[in-house]
């Protein structure tokens, strides 16, 4: 019988070896895949027990914490946004259902799970500290961000809350100084631990017809209107079609579009100089006939290639949140080309793209990659990662950029300029602003309210900030959009 018992012993040994091997497989090799199972409550609970890193606006002026985690009862941390509405388009939200904004794109650093943080977490094992996320330092200048949001709020109080968005960029680095969307939401509503509360608030926000969750600054596009004349001018100078800003171009009072019965006019059917103005005057007064005719001469292909240089038609831009592409379509019909050259037809831009256009001109023709994250710092303040400014490409020569700069200065300095009344040094506390207005027609047969657009940079001779503003249905560009940009620039210059 002992022979059989011996064999059964081997069977027992095999069973125990299989069990030991299996639990090793489960608790060592399948740990990550099991942790990643949807709805793994333990992982969610653990995340609540770890202090999530702060998000800090560190782009200028006094540093400002815009998202932090506060200890509540039961050792659980809850996300808190001290100035929720102003910074929501930047921070996004951190909810038990999911994240958006920086809370999403930098989630691994904020929750401490990034591979680069392994060493800090390992130290924590011995010092007894719970896992702590790293802080994300943003390029946002809280003064500029607040100025833009306040301007939109006070405008909203008089006009009933027209959707608006503004972006400010440091032209020489691409650092995003402000990223504002209005109307916006309170991310604190989505921070609680109670799924019932979050679901209710989330539902209310999703059903809100003003679309507060939409980040208009990067994820909504609008017709650029006359601000696109910057691209048209770049094409004209760059291709040598127009020699420089003093060259004259034809500017009839009425321009019948080629092969069409449609007649293009200037604002209020006005004349543009003597019908053969210098391009700087046509730009200053924003003559549609001059730039429409110029566009038809340049052709759709050339305009599209310059638009692409300005980063139109790029679906892959991230800041690190993904940015909806600004579009300049393929056009061959001369009439459509003429309209597209003045920023109508199917042209669409994000407010970010508006700022990038001005920033390119301000940075002597070189477009820098826009970015929000300046630095990531571990809990011990050591820098884990930092962003180095990077060039996307040279868009125009510095000569062309200088010509366009002169034209943009004229827009605000020449009493005939479209933004003289709203952005001249006299209005803007002596700051020299170079800008371009846009008033984009909207809706079927252009019956909708015009979108107001303004793109600019300052100081004109030594640019430090480039701003793009769009007010949906804001009417004439200079009236609605330019004052917001001026307030942002004033805040940046330390004036209020």
């Amino acid at each position: 019988m002992n022979r059989a018992i011996g064999r059964l012993s081997i069977v027992c040994l095999v069973m125990f070896v299989i069990l030991l091997g299996w639990v090793n497989y489960l608790q060592v090799f399948r740990v990550n895949s099991l942790a990643g199972e949807p709805g793994n409550i333990r992982i969610l609970d653990q995340a609540l027990k770890n202090q999530r890193g702060e998000i800090i606006a560190n782009g200028g002026g006094p540093q400002k914490v815009i998202a932090e985690s506060k200890l509540t009862t039961g050792g659980i941390y809850e996300r808190y946004y001290p100035d929720p509405y102003t910074f929501a388009p930047v921070t996004g939200y951190d909810s038990i259902f999911g994240n958006t904004g920086i809370e999403l794109s930098e989630n691994k650093y904020l929750n401490g799970s990034a591979a680069k943080l392994a060493i800090y977490n390992f130290k924590g094992l011995f010092t007894g500290h719970s896992k702590q996320g790293s802080s994300v330092y943003l390029t946002i200048d809280p003064r500029v961000q607040e100025a833009a949001y306040q301007a939109m709020v006070s405008m909203g109080q008089t006009d009933g809350g027209k959707p608006a968005a503004a972006v400010a960029i440091d032209p020489s680095t691409g650092a995003i100084l402000a990223l504002v969307s209005y109307p916006t939401f309170n991310p604190n509503l989505l921070a609680p631990i109670s799924s019932a509360v979050v679901a209710k608030n989330d539902n209310a926000l999703l059903n809100d017809r003003s679309q507060p969750l939409l980040n208009r600054a990067i994820n909504d596009t609008y017709p650029p209107g006359s601000t696109f004349k910057i691209v048209t001018s770049s094409t004209a100078f760059g291709t040598g079609t127009v020699a420089n800003q003093t060259s004259t171009i034809p500017a009839p009072q009425f321009y019948r579009l080629p092969g069409s019965t449609h007649v293009l006019t200037n604002d209020g059917n006005s004349v543009c100089g003597d019908g053969h103005p210098q391009i700087i005057l046509a730009f200053t007064e924003s003559c549609n006939t001059a730039f429409g005719k110029l566009g038809a001469r340049l052709g759709g292909a050339a305009l599209r290639s310059y638009a692409n240089l300005y980063d139109f038609n790029n679906p892959n831009l991230t800041i690190p949140m993904p940015v909806s592409p600004s579009m300049y379509p393929k056009v061959s019909d001369p009439a459509e080309t003429a309209i597209s050259a003045i920023g109508q037809f199917s042209d669409t831009v994000t407010p970010l793209e508006e700022a990038m256009m001005a920033a390119t001109v301000a940075n002597h023709g070189v477009l820098m990659r826009p970015y929000l994250v300046q630095q990531i710092r571990a809990p011990d303040q050591e820098v884990v990662q930092s962003t180095a400014p990077a060039e996307i490409r040279r868009v125009t020569s510095s000569t062309v950029a200088a010509d366009i700069t002169k034209m943009m200065i004229s827009v605000t300095h020449n009493p005939a300029g479209t933004a003289y009344g709203t952005a001249s040094p006299a209005v803007a506390n002596g700051i020299d602003i170079a800008g371009k207005t846009g008033t984009a027609q909207n809706g079927p047969n252009n019956t909708g309210l015009d979108d107001a657009v303004f793109t600019c940079f300052a100081p004109a001779t030594n640019p430090q900030i480039a701003v793009g503003v769009i007010v949906q249905g804001g009417g004439f560009g200079a009236d609605a959009a330019a004052p917001i940009a001026v307030k942002m620039i004033e805040a940046f210059e330390g004036q209020h």
Partner: protein, 478 residues
């Protein structure tokens, strides 16, 4: 771990049912030292639970640990008196598991109570750990009782058929009783009388092991006879198939009427192993395994609850299952990782019935892979000591009984730990010594008593013939 590598039994293998090598000493002091260690582990576990939950030493610490220590001391004294040559490892190993089980049940009972973190477990009363300690007292009393009554293993063989009948009746009662008197958490394996409930299958396992041992000892010669030879295997004679078919049918009935594939597999495995030890015929094993697979396959197709277990096995995280006990148990084990969260610091309360069927996932979560492997090795050692006693003892009845009990323990561990960890389809059976519940605890203490009785028999020094008295010899009559 295998008895093959054991120096004591190594020689026995080649000699068939050979003479054991008795040890000169019982090593009871070693047992006492290890027992003290087991109690110390329980003490540490309780302190750990308190610090993990709320940063304080549990208020009932002295009661639990002192009570447990007294019980183990009593068991130890009883062994010194009743089975002085018994294996010194079995009692400390069982004590270690029993103590860890009480600590874990205390940890689960405290979850979410007072200001403790976690969620209160609805299926666990606020005095579950105390109840478990009381069951331990009953278990130790049973342990001493078995050692006292069964002074020689062979005594039991006199009652082969009586005990076998009682075992079958116990097994059958829950199947016959209405659900209100036999069903707890969906398992129809209980007898509920008033506020008191017993799982008779736990005791039936021991009684049937005794019956199988007695039956097989008397019939082993007949069963060993070869019939036809088929693909190199000696088939038994058709007329000898009767008992195998009866046990197979009984295990299938358990499976069908009690929705309990685990218990069914356990009984059938126990019987097959003992049949194999008795006859040394592989053909019995092959026939038995084929019969069981056939029965399981038929049951899986005929009965939804069996088929559902397979679906759950393949898709534990499918929609609707992800908050089920299997998914939660697995996520808990993964959460514990290599070192575990520490007692009181994980979330085992997320797993339904973590105090009984799923207690190993609770240990896996809070003590980690390290703790889980330690517990598995303790079980492995108990099985090994049981098999070693079986190898060493001379009496065929005791040999069969110890071998069968040790092997059934191994199957039980494999079925429940494999089940809760998704290695095999989940079946609800208890984890010996750890799971909450009196029946399992008392029955397993009785198993330990029987294994110690057999090992005492094996290690007892043979009475020395007194050479001076010439022809006079000591004759063992029993």
């Amino acid at each position: 771990m295998s008895a093959l590598s054991d120096p004591l039994s190594g020689s026995g293998l080649s000699r068939g049912d050979a003479v054991p090598v008795p040890l000169p000493r019982g090593r009871r002091n070693a047992e006492l030292a290890m027992l003290a260690f087991a109690v110390a582990i329980m003490l540490f576990a309780f302190v750990n639970v308190g610090y993990g939950l709320n940063g304080h030493i549990p208020s009932g610490l002295a009661l639990y640990v002192a009570g447990f220590a007294v019980l183990m001391a009593a068991a130890h004294i009883a062994v010194r008196w009743l089975a002085p040559y018994a294996d010194p490892l079995l009692l400390p190993l069982a004590a270690m598991l029993n103590g860890l089980g009480i600590a874990m049940i205390y940890r689960l009972q405290e979850s979410g109570r007072g200001s403790n973190p976690g969620i209160q477990i609805g299926t666990l009363t606020s005095h579950a750990a105390l109840t478990q300690l009381m069951y331990t007292a009953v278990g130790v009393a049973g342990f001493v009782g078995v050692l006292a009554v069964v002074r020689e293993p062979r005594v039991l063989s006199r009652y082969t058929y009586t005990l076998g009948t009682i075992g079958l009746v116990l097994l059958a009662i829950p199947a016959i009783l209405p659900g209100s008197l036999s069903s707890v958490n969906g398992a129809k394996t209980w007898i509920i009388l008033g506020g008191f409930s017993v799982e008779p299958g736990e005791f039936a396992k021991i009684l049937l092991a005794i019956f199988f041992a007695g039956y097989l000892v008397s019939k082993r010669d007949v069963l060993s006879l070869a019939g036809k030879r088929f693909i190199g295997i000696d088939l038994p004679r058709a007329r000898d198939m009767g008992p195998v078919l009866v046990v197979w049918a009984a295990s299938l009935l358990v499976l069908i009427f009690e929705s309990d594939i685990g218990t069914s597999a356990l009984f059938f495995g126990l019987f097959l192993a003992m049949l194999y030890i008795a006859t040394q015929r592989k053909s019995w094993l092959i026939i038995g395994i084929l019969l069981f697979l056939l029965g399981a396959d038929i049951a899986a197709n005929l009965f939804h609850h069996v088929g559902d277990r397979f679906t759950l096995w393949f898709h534990p995280f499918a929609n609707g299952n992800q908050y089920g006990q299997l998914a939660q148990g697995l996520e808990g084990m993964a959460f514990g990782g290599i070192l575990g969260t520490g007692l009181g610091q994980g979330e085992p309360f997320r797993t339904a019935l973590v105090q009984s069927d799923f207690i190993m996932t609770g240990f896996g979560e809070e003590l980690g892979l390290t703790g889980l492997m330690a517990i598995l090795l303790i079980f492995g050692l108990i099985v090994q000591r049981g098999l070693r006693a079986s190898l060493a003892v001379r009496d065929p009845f005791a040999k069969l009984l110890a071998g069968g009990l040790a092997f059934s323990l191994a199957i039980q561990i494999f079925v429940i730990v494999g089940g809760v960890s998704q290695l095999i389809p989940l079946t609800g059976i208890t984890t010996p010594f750890l799971s909450q519940g009196g029946s399992s605890l008392v029955a397993n203490w009785a198993v330990i008593a029987l294994l110690m009785r057999v090992s005492d028999q094996a290690r007892k020094p043979a009475p020395q013939p007194i050479q001076d008295e010439g022809m006079t010899q000591v004759v063992r009559a029993a």
